[in-house]
Amino acid sequence: MNINFSLFSDELNRRRFVSLAAKSFLGVSILPWASHSSLSGAGLGLNRPLNHAPKAKNVIYLYMSGGMTHLDTFDPKSGTETGGPTQTIKTNADGVQLAENLPLLANHADKIAVVRGMTSTKGAHQQGNYFMHTSYAQRSTIVHPSMGAWMTRLDGRFNPTLPGAVVVGGGSRHPLSGFLSTTHQPLAVGNPNEGLKNIKRLWGMTEEKFEQGLDLSQRLDRSFTQKYNLEKVNAYSDMYDDAVRLMKSKDLKAFDLKEESESTRESYGSDNFGQGVLLARRLVERQVRFVEVQLGGWDTHQNNFSRVPERCAILDQALSALLDDLSKRGLLEETLIVLATEFGRTPNINVNDGRDHYPKAFSCMLAGGGIRGGQVWGSTDEEGREVIENKVEIPDFNATIAYTLGLPLDEIIYSPTRRPFTLSDKGQPLTQLI
C-alpha cells in the first residue's frame, strides 16, 4: 500500500508539475482546470469527486485575532438572554441572517457562505490561533506550516518575482512556513500604508555597485558559510535572493496603495485593516497566491457590546468593499475569501459585560472561489452554546479551502525530522459548499 502510494504520489508530482509550470510561466492557465480534475481521476483524489473542477486560484484570508464572538456577528441570537442586546437583521439572501453589526455585508450575503457549526477544543489564544492556521495542535518540538506556505509548496508561485504568500499584521509568532523551507515563507508586512519598505537602493548606489557590493559580501563570507553550513545561516541567502528579485520586480507597485484612487482607498476604510484588505486585492490581482490580513481586538472579556460594534464597523466596511470590488473586476470566481478566528465567545455574558473564550461553537465564513453564496452551513442551538447540525472541525474547514483550490489533500510532505504531514491533517472538505 505504502509503496503504491509513493509511486502514485511521484506520478502526481510529475504531472502536477506540468500544469503548474504552465500556470506559472505563462501567467494564466492554458491547460484549463481540467488538468486538475484529470489528476483527481488518477485515483488519488480520495476526497474529490471526478467532476470537481476547482475554480479558486488565490486566497484572501481575513483573520480575526483574539476570538471573534459568533453571537454578535455571524450567528446572532436576538431575543434570547445569551444574545444580549445585539439584534438580528435580514440580508439580500433568503435564509441568511446576520447581526446588526454587519449591515453592509448584509447586502452581499448572496456571495457568502456562513459556517456556523465550527468547533474546536483549543480555548487559549496561542493554541487556538495556531490550530486554525495549521490544522495541527501546537507542539514544542515542531512548527507546522500555515496554509499560504502549504499552497506554494504544493502548487507553486504564479508570479515569479513577488512572494507566493503575504501576511499583513501577523504578529511575531505566526507559524509562517513552519518546517517547510524558508523559500515558502510568507512575506510579513507590518503597515499596509507604508507598503514594502526599503525596496529602493540607497541614495547614490548604482545597480552595478549594488551587485558588486553583494558579491564582495559573499566572498568575504565564504569561509564562514562553509564552516557554518546550517539551515538558519543558509536561510539568509535564500532571503537575500528573494529580496533582490523583489527589488527588481515589475510588479512592485502592487504594494503601493497610492496608485488607487482616493475613493477606492476610502471605500475599504482608512484603518490598517481596510488598507490591508485593499493591498490583498492588489496582490492577488498579480497572482500572489495567499494573502492574510489580520484584525485584532476581538478578545472582548469586557464591554463586549461596545467593542464588538467597533471591530465590526472596520470588518464590515473592508469585507463589503472587497466583495464589491472583486465581483466588479470579475475576480471573485477565482479568489477565495476566508474569514476565520481562533474560537467564539461564551454565550453567558460575564460581570464585566463581556464574553470569555468559547471554542465549542463559533462561526467562520467563505466567499468567492466557487463557493455557493447565500447559504448557511451548520447551526447552533437557540442560545449559541452547542453545534446541533453539521459540526465542522478546524481541519475540515482548512481542507475545504484547499479543496476549492484543487490542492492535493493527501499528499504527504515530510518534515526534516522525517515525520509525515498533510496540509489539513485528517480534515475532510465540505464539498456541499461548492
Partner: protein, 716 residues
C-alpha cells in the same frame, strides 16, 4: 583624557555592587561547572571545539553582557592591554554597566510581555509606569525571587506599587493571568487545563482552578471606597424622602450631572490592584466526576510543597512565598535554565517553559548544580551570569552544527545564533552615535508623573464626604459647558456616521478628544488647584526624550531598544528582526525573512550610520591609508582584523582615486591680493572636503558589504 571616551573596562568602578560570592567562592563555582562539563564531554565523547581568539571572544561577551557588539575603542583597548586579569576585569565591568541593565530589561520585557501602551489602565498610561518600574528594579538588581514575589503579590495604585502592572496587564482575565504565571515562573504550561484536562501533561482542570483560586480575587479597578463614601453621603441627604421621590431625584438631570462629575473626579484613581476574597467556581460545563459544575473551588497548590499561611498573612502572600521558595520543585531550576539558555543559546531543558514530571536535563548534574548556585547567589541574576561568563566552554567557538531540539546537547560551546532583534539594533546604534549606552529616556518625566498621581490621591483621600460632594457639585457646574459640547459632538458624530461622512467623523473625533482633554483639565484643576500639571495624569507626561547637547546633530530616533517604545511599532527595524510583539511570554524569534534582507540592504538606518559624525565615520576619517581604513571597518563591524586575502579583495573594490592620497599642501601664490587669496583658500578647502568625502563614499560601500555578511548578524 576625557573619562567618557575611555572604554568601559578601564574606567574606575564608580558603583561597586556587593558581589554575592567571595573571590574564592566564585572560583570554586566556575571550577565545579567546568568539571561537570569536562566529565560530560568524556562520557559522551564530545569533540571540544577550539577556543575563540580574543577579538571574537570579546564580541561574544559584549553581545551577551552588553547587548551589542563592542565599539572600536573598546575592542582595541582590550586587545592592546597586557594586563593578566583583563578578561576578569572586563566581565566584572560589563555586568556592572548600564549596557548590561539595558539588555536585561529587554529580557524581562519579553518575559513579562511589557507594553508601553497596555490595555489595562490605558487611560492613565499605566503601561509606561509598569515599564518604568521594571527598569528601576533591573537597575537596582533586585533578586529574581524577590521580583517574582513582588509581582504576584502586587497591590495598590501603580504609583504606590509599580508591580501592579503585572495584574493590569491581564485586567479582567485572572484565569489567563495564572497560566502566564505558571509558564513564566514555573516553566509549566497549564493553559490547556483552563477548559479541560491537559491532553499531554498530567494537569486536570480541577488542579488548574485550584491554583487559579489564589489570585482569582484580583480586582483591577480601584477607587470604590471613595465612591461608596460619596454615595452614602448622598443617601443621607435623601433620607426621609419617599421612595418615589428618591427615584425622581436620582434620575434628575442634576443627579446625572453630579454622578458624572464624581466619575471624572475619580478617574485617575480607577486603576490598580486589590486582592479580594472573591471565590472561584467551576465552569457551567465542567465535565468531570470529581465535582459539580459551578461548585466553589478551594485553593490548592499544584506541587507537593505545601502552602503554609501564617497568622495574619494573606492568602496571596502565602502563595507568593510558595511560588518563590527554593523548596518549590520548579521555580529555581526554571530560572537557572532560562539564564543558562540566555548565555549558551540552548537550555539544559528544552523547551524552557514546558516542563513535565518526566523532564530530564541534557546534563542533570549540571542543572542540579545551577539550581544550587542560584540559591547561593540569592537569585542575583547579575552574579549568576558573572559566573557563567567565566565558564571555559563560553570561550569556545560555536560548533558547526545545531542539534535539533530532541537531541541532547552537551555544551562544548555556545550554539551559533543570530543576534536578537535588540542586539542587532543596539549594535547599529553603537556604530551610529557616541556613548550609545548613556542616551536614555528622561526618567524624571515619569517620576514626575508618579508624584502627581500620589498628590492627587492624597488630596482626594484627605477630603471628607461633605467636601467631596461640594467639589463634585462645583465640578458639575464648571464642566456643564464642556459636557454640553461633548454631548453635542457625540450627536453630530452619530449623524455623520449615519451619513457616512468620513471627513466629518474624523474631525469630530478629534474635536471630541480635545473636549475630553479640556474636561479632564477642569476636574484635575478643580481638585488640585490651577497650577496642577494635568498632562501627568493622562498621556505620557510630556516629552520623555529630552534634548541633550551630548547628541546634538545626531538623529533623534537612535536610542537603544530599551529606551524606545516597547514593543516597537509594526514595521520598525526591531519588529522586522523578530522583537516580541508582547502578546505572549518569550515571543521573540530569530528567523530569517525577506524584509530583514531588504532592511540590511536598503534600510534608513544607514543615514545615521554614514553621518560624518558617527563613531564609525569618525574612526574612518582618522585612519589615513586605505589599508588602515579597511581595518577600521572590519574592526568596527565584524570586530576582527581582515585577513590578507580579505584586505586584498576590499582594496580591489576601491577606485584609483580613492587610494590616491589627498594633497593637503596646495600652495597659495604669494603675489595674489588679500582678497584673491581668501577666495582661493576657500576654493581649495571646498575641493579638499569634496575629495575627502568622495573617497569616504567608497568605504561606505565596503561597510555596507560587511553589514550584509552573515558574520555580522551571527554570533559565532
Amino acid at each position: 583624557m576625557n573619562l567618557k571616551l575611555m572604554p568601559i573596562f578601564l574606567l574606575p568602578l564608580v558603583i561597586v555592587f556587593g558581589e554575592k560570592l567571595s573571590k574564592q567562592e566564585f572560583e570554586v563555582e566556575v571550577d565545579t561547572i567546568n568539571k561537570i562539563l569536562e566529565s560530560t564531554y568524556q562520557k559522551h565523547e564530545v569533540r571540544v571545539p577550539e577556543k575563540l581568539d580574543d577579538a571574537l571572544f570579546v564580541r561574544r561577551l559584549y553581545i551577551k553582557a552588553a547587548g551589542r557588539i563592542p565599539t572600536h575603542d573598546e575592542l582595541s583597548s582590550y586587545l592592546s592591554s597586557s594586563s593578566k586579569g583583563k578578561k576578569n576585569q572586563l566581565i566584572n565591568d560589563l555586568v556592572n554597566s548600564s549596557a548590561f541593565d539595558s539588555q536585561m530589561f529587554n529580557w524581562w520585557a519579553d518575559l513579562l510581555r511589557l507594553k508601553t501602551r497596555m490595555r489595562g489602565g490605558n487611560q492613565i498610561g499605566a503601561g509606561q509606569l509598569y515599564v518604568h518600574w521594571v527598569k528601576e528594579q533591573v537597575g537596582k538588581n533586585i533578586p529574581f525571587d524577590e521580583m517574582a514575589y513582588n509581582l504576584v503579590t502586587a497591590e495598590g495604585y501603580p504609583w504606590e506599587d509599580g508591580a501592579v502592572g503585572y495584574y493590569l496587564r491581564d485586567a479582567g482575565m485572572p484565569l489567563d493571568n495564572m497560566s502566564n504565571t505558571t509558564q513564566i515562573f514555573l516553566g509549566t504550561q497549564m493553559v490547556c487545563a483552563q477548559c479541560h484536562n491537559h491532553p499531554f501533561d498530567r494537569w486536570t482542570q480541577m488542579e488548574y482552578y485550584q491554583m487559579a483560586s489564589y489570585t482569582y480575587g484580583i480586582n483591577s479597578s480601584k477607587g470604590g471606597d471613595i465612591q461608596s463614601k460619596i454615595k452614602k453621603y448622598f443617601e443621607k441627604q435623601t433620607k426621609g424622602l419617599s421612595s418615589k421621590d428618591k427615584q425622581k431625584k436620582a434620575t434628575s438631570k442634576e443627579a446625572q450631572a453630579l454622578r458624572r462629575s464624581v466619575q471624572e473626579m475619580l478617574r485617575p484613581l480607577r486603576y490598580g490592584a486589590t486582592h479580594t476574597n472573591r471565590k472561584l467556581t467551576l465552569p457551567h460545563d465542567y465535565q468531570y466526576a470529581d465535582a459539580k459544575p459551578k461548585s466553589e473551588v478551594s485553593a490548592s497548590p499544584i506541587f507537593d510543597n505545601a502552602i503554609s499561611q501564617k497568622d495574619g498573612e494573606s492568602k496571596v502572600h502565602a502563595y507568593g512565598e510558595w511560588l518563590t521558595t527554593p523548596e518549590n520543585p520548579r521555580f529555581t531550576k526554571v530560572i537557572a535554565n532560562r539564564i543558562w539558555k540566555k548565555v549558551f543559546g540552548r537550555g539544559l531543558v528544552e523547551p524552557i517553559d514546558d516542563w513535565r514530571d518526566d523532564t530530564v536535563a541534557s546534563i542533570p548534574e549540571l542543572l542540579d548544580h545551577l539550581g544550587q548556585l542560584m540559591v547561593r547567589v540569592d537569585y542575583d541574576l547579575r552574579e549568576f551570569q558573572r559566573v557563567l561568563f567565566q565558564v571555559k566552554a563560553f570561550e569556545n567557538a560555536s560548533p558547526a552544527f545545531i542539534p535539533n531540539i530532541e537531541t541532547p546537547y552537551f555544551f562544548e560551546a555556545p550554539l551559533l545564533e543570530r543576534m536578537s532583534a535588540e542586539q542587532i539594533w543596539d549594535s547599529l546604534v553603537a556604530l551610529s552615535i557616541p556613548e550609545a549606552d548613556d542616551r536614555k529616556q528622561n526618567s524624571k518625566t515619569i517620576e514626575n508623573r508618579l508624584s502627581r498621581f500620589q498628590e492627587y490621591q492624597d488630596e482626594i483621600y484627605s477630603l471628607n464626604a461633605d467636601r467631596l460632594a461640594k467639589l463634585a457639585r462645583k465640578g458639575a457646574k464648571a464642566s456643564k459647558d464642556i459636557n454640553d459640547q461633548m454631548e453635542d459632538i457625540q450627536k453630530q458624530l452619530r449623524e455623520a456616521q449615519e451619513a457616512d461622512d468620513r471627513e466629518a467623523v474624523a474631525r469630530l473625533r478629534r474635536e471630541y478628544g480635545q473636549a475630553r482633554n479640556q474636561q479632564r483639565t477642569v476636574f484635575a484643576k478643580l481638585v488640585m488647584g490651577p497650577e496642577f500639571e494635568v498632562k501627568s495624569l493622562y498621556g505620557n507626561g510630556g516629552n520623555i526624550y529630552n534634548k541633550n547637547d551630548r547628541w546634538k546633530g545626531y538623529s533623534s530616533q537612535i536610542y537603544r531598544a530599551s529606551e524606545l517604545q516597547t514593543p516597537a511599532q509594526p514595521g520598525h527595524f526591531l519588529q522586522e528582526f523578530g522583537q516580541s510583539d508582547r502578546e505572549i511570554s518569550d515571543n521573540a524569534n530569530r528567523d530569517a525573512s525577506v524584509t530583514q534582507a531588504l532592511t540590511l540592504l536598503n534600510g534608513t538606518f544607514y543615514g545615521a550610520l554614514f553621518n560624518k559624525e558617527s563613531p564609525l565615520m569618525k574612526k574612518l576619517t582618522e585612519a589615513t591609508s586605505p589599508e588602515e581604513k579597511i581595518k577600521v571597518l572590519f574592526f568596527s563591524i565584524l570586530n576582527r582584523e581582515p585577513t590578507k586575502e580579505e584586505l586584498k579583495m576590499c582594496m580591489a573594490e576601491l577606485s584609483q582615486a580613492a587610494t590616491k592620497s589627498i594633497d593637503y599642501n596646495q600652495k597659495i601664490p604669494e603675489h595674489l591680493s588679500k582678497e584673491k587669496k581668501k577666495v582661493l583658500k576657500k576654493q581649495i578647502e571646498k575641493k579638499l572636503a569634496w575629495e575627502k568625502f568622495n573617497r569616504t563614499r567608497e568605504y561606505f560601500a565596503i561597510a555596507w558589504s560587511l553589514i550584509n555578511t552573515r558574520q555580522f548578524s551571527f554570533v559565532q
